[in-house]
Amino acid sequence: MMQKIRMFVFDALKSLKRNKTITVASVITVAATLFIFGVFLLVAQTINMGVESVESKVEIKVYLIDQITTAERNNIETILGSVEGVREVVYESKEEAFEQFKERLGEDNAILAGFSEDRNPLPNSYVVSLLEPEAAMRVENALDNVRGVEDVGNERETVERIIGLAKIIRTMGVVIFVILVLVSLFLISNTIKLTVYARRREIGIMKFVGATDWFIRWPFLIEGMIMGLIGGVISVAVVYFSYQLIYADITQSLFYAELVTPDQILSSFSWQFGITGIVIGALGSFIALKRFLDV
């Protein structure tokens, strides 16, 4: 068995060397495809992380009427506690709300001059933070017609827009991934087809002396996998170094803590790209050989 694997790998390497130009072209193709994919993945991941952090920060306010009773408050608290997707419920008195508002206005707080702690237009409220934006609807429904609730301040449009954006980004990611994989499959299989074509006599001889399809296939599959792997490694290296170059700039100019770090590229991208490259290479070879083996 080991003997056979060694032989297959040896054959594959020999063929790669023999068809140097084609080999280099294929490797570059895979590397380029995976590089584009990598850049896209980085952007998508960054946006995704951003969306996730926004998503996790989504909160809604439940405004209470001023004449609320303790029983009504307790009731509302129980209801909020039972809604799925609610992370935390914090009571915010009208005084606290006033202070916060003032603080948020900062230097512009002069417009609040006419108001004071006792003449406070803001209501008491519950600040409900959510695990997922979808829970906003559920909170709203649960509090429908509950006594003591003035209004549910739901930033529904914002929430929906965030959900929509996240969905678009994820779908786009999948679509682009599929397209790029198909392109590299096509290119690799064409490359392997050239080497298969160059060796078609040999394959014919193998067939009539009684070689099994897999015996014929393995060297080509290994050839494809080696090309895919090298392409994957190159693309990771290029993505890593170019990202490292711009990473410092981005983090400085963008006040945005949650970015994919260059180290993450090495730790997760590297093996993902390696495996993707290998799979693409093997599949490409398989497709290329199909026609030649049908004898």
């Binding site: 006599r201 002396v209 009684g210 070689a211 099994t212």
Partner: protein, 230 residues
Amino acid sequence: MIEFKNVTKKYDNQVVALNDISIKIEPGEFVFLVGPSGAGKSTFIKMLLKEVDPTMGEIIVGNKSLRGITRKDVPYYRRKIGMVFQDYRLIPNLNVYENVAFAMRVIDATPKEIRRRVPMVLALVGLSDRSKSFPNELSGGEQQRVSLARAITNNPTILIADEPTGNLDPETAKDIMRLIMDINKAGTTVLMATHAKDIVDSSKRRVIALEKGRIVRDEKKGRYEFDAEN
């Protein structure tokens, strides 16, 4: 050994290559398959190799119907058949020894078996001193010997030779024929498709003559007896 029962082959383009062929070849027999181009010789051989399947009828090789052989089992079936072609079909970047060893490697022979067997068959075809040469350094006759060595190295029960002397001068052709006869004497059933009138007439062996997809003659010690067109 080989039996065709009412075999008809009609290709997709409606050409009838073989029309209701029935024939029986016994183990150890030597048979010439003759006939003008397009008579159906190639289809006959391709069906024996299970490269194409008959449209109607049945082919039995060594007590086994070819119909029962699945696509997956075809390679194992082919190992029982040695093939020789007019154009030798050697791998140009392998030397003589490697070309023969290649056929053994393909069927999972151990390196030890290969080391023992290859020099033996090379001696048999008289090429012991050329084992390091590459195909392009050999004459046509020598190349055909290599291809014969490759064909018999896995001990096939049947040897199919498709115009083995087609590219050779008469003297060399005689040498190759002598080798094929020797292989037959050792017990291998031989089926040889040929246009070589002299060889057929002087060999006095069984001749199956095909014309337009039908068997027109089948004689124990037959002659070529076609017009010299080919």
